[in-house]
Amino acid sequence: MIEALRKKAEELLRSKTVDVIYGYGEGSTPERTRPVFITKPEDVNKLTWNKYCVYNLTTYLKRQEARKLGKPAIVVKGCDAKTIIVLIKESQIKREDVYILGVTCNGVGEPQATKCKACDIHTPRIYDELIGEKIENKEISFEERYAEIEEYEKLSEKDKWEFWQKQFAKCIKCYACSSICPLCFCDRCIVDKNQPQWIDPSAHPRGNLSWNVTRAYHLAGRCINCEECQRVCPADIPLNLLNKKLAKETEKNFKYRAGYNIDDELAMATYKEDDNQDFIK
C-alpha cells in the first residue's frame, strides 16, 4: 500500500497534476507519524501509511502556509474525506482544486481510536485515486453510531451541567481545539471580535463556558467527528461528547450526516417543509 501511495504521488508530481502532496511521514518514534508536504518527486519516499496515521490532514487545507505551495493532493481516510465534502459544500474549496488520495482503512490508533469503533466508511466515499484494497463499507445502525454518548445522555440535566462545569474549568483557552479543527476556518473567529467582546478571552469560568459552548454550536450539523479537538486538548476535555451529541440530534431531526453525501443540502442552512419541528413548543 505504501508503495502504491508513493508511486501515485510521484506520478502526480511529475505530471504536474498537483504541486504538493499532503501526507503522513514517519515520526521520531515508530508509533508516531507527522504531516509531510512533498513538493519534489524524489521525496515521495518520505510518505508512509500505517495504523498510527490517526489525525486528519484536511486541516491544512485552511492554512495559508500550505495553500501557498499550490494545488494539493491530500491523503485521506474515509472519515477525513467527509471534511472535504463539507468544505466543498461550504464554498471553501472547489472539487477540482484538490486531488484526493483516498486510503482504505480498518481503523487507526493503538489502542484503537474511539472514532473507529463505529466506522462505516472504511473506503472513502469521495476520492480521485484509491490506495489499498477496497473494503466493504458495512452499515452501522444509528444506535451503534452514537453508542459512545449513551452513558453521558443518561445523566440528569443537573449532573450534565455539573459535569461540564468541571470539565470547562480545566480549559486554559489555548484554542488548540479551534486551530486543529479543519472546519474552524473563519479568518476572524468570534472570539477575536472585541467590539463588542462576545466571548471573554481569559480563562475564567464564564469565558470558558461561552467559548466551549459556542465552539460546539458553530460545529453543529457540520462536525464530521474526526475527534481532533479532543485529541489535541491539553486539558483532556472530552469535547467530542458535545460534537457527537449535536451530530446525533442533527441526524435524528434532519436525517443528515455532515460530509456523508455530497448531494445532501447543508442541514443548518436548509429549510424543508418536512423538517422535524416537534422541538418548537
Binding site: Q92, C189, K193
Partner: protein, 681 residues
Amino acid sequence: MSKKIGVFVCHCGTNISATVDVEKVAEEAKKKNPGVTYTTTHKYMCSDPGQKLLRDKIKEEGLTGIVVAACSPKMHERTFRNAAIKTGLNPYHVEISNIREQCSWVHKDKAVGTTKSIDLVRMMTEKTRKDKSLKPIKVHVTKRALVIGGGIAGIQAALDIADGGNEVILVEREASIGGHMAQLSETFPTLDCSQCIMTPKMVEVAQHENIKLYTWSEIEAVGGYLGNFDIKIRKKARSVDLDLCTGCSSCWQVCPSKKIKSEFDMGLGNRTAIYVPFPQAIPSKPVIDRENCLLFKDARKKNIPPNDSKVCRKCIDACPIAPVKAIDYSQEDEIVEEKVGAIVVATGYRELEDGLYGEYGGGKYKDVITGLQFERLASASGPTDGMIKRPSDGKEPEIIVFIQCVGSRDPSKGCSYCSKTCCMYTAKHTMLYKHKVHHGHAYVFYIDIRCAGKSYEEFAQRAIEEEGATYLRGRVSRVYQKGDKLVVLGADTLTGSVVEIEAEMVVLASAMKAQDDAGEFARKLSIQYDKDMFFSEIHPKLKPVESSSAGIFLAGTCQGPKDIPEAVAQAGAAASKVLALLSSDELEREPVVARVDRQLPPVFSTCIGCFYCQKVCPYSAIEQEDIKARDGSVIKTVARVNEGLCQGCGLCAATCRSKSIELAGFNDEQIYAEINAVEFN
C-alpha cells in the same frame, strides 16, 4: 456629547397600567438609567395629545434619544418615529420598549409586571444610547403592476389600476378569464344574471389599452422586490396562434373527441379536445387539450413530434386561415419576462371535492351535485339551457334537498371555517329552483342561517316566506339511493325529530377551499398563508389587503371565503394600494438592512464566504461578490447584501459564525448592551 434620553411610559388605558405600575417604571428609569434626562407617563401615548407631548418634550428638553414604553413596535413604532421627524430628530433614535404584549398582557402580578417593565425599559435605554442616525433607502419604482388571476377580483383590480393610468399585466392560467363568477347563474341578493354583469367587464379587460392579458399562462418565478419585481411567466402551449385565429369555430365543430367533460360546466356537459371553455370566453379563441386530443395521444404513444402524427388533423384542415394556419401542433411553452412594481394576487378558490362526503353520496350518485354544478344547471348558457334536470335521467326533480355546510364548519373534514357564501347561495338556489319548477318543493338542512350583509337577511327570509322553501335546522347523517329516489336522513333539531325525505336531487353546499397549489404558490411569492392555505393578510383589521411581502397585495377568495361584492371591494382596495405605490418615481425603504463588513486590505472582509447567509435568506437578498486585485484576479469571494431586497429579518446576522454581518438599527453593540442591561442589574 452624550445622549439625552426621554422615556415616555404609556398606560394604554388600563391595558398596561392594570398590571404595571407605570409611574414607578418612569421614576426608576430616571433614577437608575444613565443618559435618561426626562421621563413621563401618558394615558394614551399614541393619541394626538400623547404625540404632541413627545414632540414638545423633544424640543423643550433637547432630547436626542427616545424610548416609548408601550405596545408592540409593529403597532406604533412608525407613529412615534413620524412624530420625531416633525421635530427634526432622526427617527431611528426612537425605540419602542414593548411592555404590553410582552409584559402587561402576559402577567397577572403587578409587582412582577412592574419589575419586568423596568428591566425592559432599561434594556431599550441601553440600546437607544447606541442608536445611530439612519437614512431611508431610495428605490426606483417600475410603474406597472401584475395581477395574478382573472376572476372577478383580478379583473376588478386590473381595471382599477389600468384606469388609474398604469400598465397592468393580467395572468390567468385557464384559457379564458372569468373565473368562477362566469360560471354562476344569477347572483344574490338581486338575482341579476352573473354573465350579464361579468362579460362586459371581461370585454373591457380585453380592450383596455393599459392591460396586457396572458391567458393559459402561469407564474413561473417571482424575483426582485417592492417597486422592482422580475416576473417570469410561462405561456403554456395553446397550440393556437392568438394573433392569427379569428375564433370562427370551424376547428371545434369538426373535432371528433366530443365526450370530454367540460370543466366549465363542472362535468355536467361535454366539450371537444380543441375548445373554447364557454361562448363568452375572453379571448374567444380555442386551446387544444393535449391530454385528450387524439393527435397528441398518438404522438405520445409513438414518441414522435405531434406534427408527424397522421391520426387526426381535422382541426387544422378545417382552419380557414391561409397561408399559415392558426393551429400549430408544434407550439411549445414559452417563458416571457416582465418587470413590475407591484403585484395583486387574486388566485381564487376551488370547491371542496365532492368525494370527500361519502355519506352524502358525493361523487357516487349522479343526482347528488355540488353548489357550482347547480349553478351550471340553472344557467341559461349551461348544459341544460337553464332547465333544472337530473344528471341521471334528465327528469325534472320534484323534491330537491339542499344540504348546507358540506365541509364548512366541519373540522373532521379539514375545514373548521365558515365558507360564508353558502347560506346565501342556497337561499338563491331554492328561489331559482322554484322559479323554474313551480310545482316542486325545496328543503334546506342548515346549522345556522348566516346572512349578514346588506339586504341579505331579507333575501333569505324571502326564500322561506315567499318562495316556500322548507328550512330544517339540523345535520344530514346519510343520503342513499332507493330506486330512482335519494333518501335523505337528517335531524330536525327544532322539533327534535328524525326526518327522512325521498328526494329526486340533492345539492351539497360544498366548502370553498384554497387552491390545491396555494402553498407552493405562496412560497414562490414569499407570502404567508394560514392553516387552511388561504393567503394571510399582514394585519386582520388594519392591513387587510397587504400580504406579508412588501408590494404584494391580496384580493378575493385566495385570502379567504368571500362573496362577489366583498371580492370586488377588496380588489378595489388592493388596486388603490397599488396606485398609491406607483404614484411616485421613487420609494423610501426602511434602512433597517443587513450589511456584510468590509475591512482594510489585506483582510477586505472578515466574511469567509461559507454562504450560509445566502442559503438562509428568505428574500434572496444575499449575493456573492468577488473582491479583485488590480490585475483582475480574485482575492476573495464574500457575501454582499442587496439593500433593495433585504427586509431586515436578521437571519443572516444570526447565522454568521464569524459575526461579519450586522443589521442596521440592531447592531452587535446594541444587542450586547441590551443583554448586559439585564445581566448586571
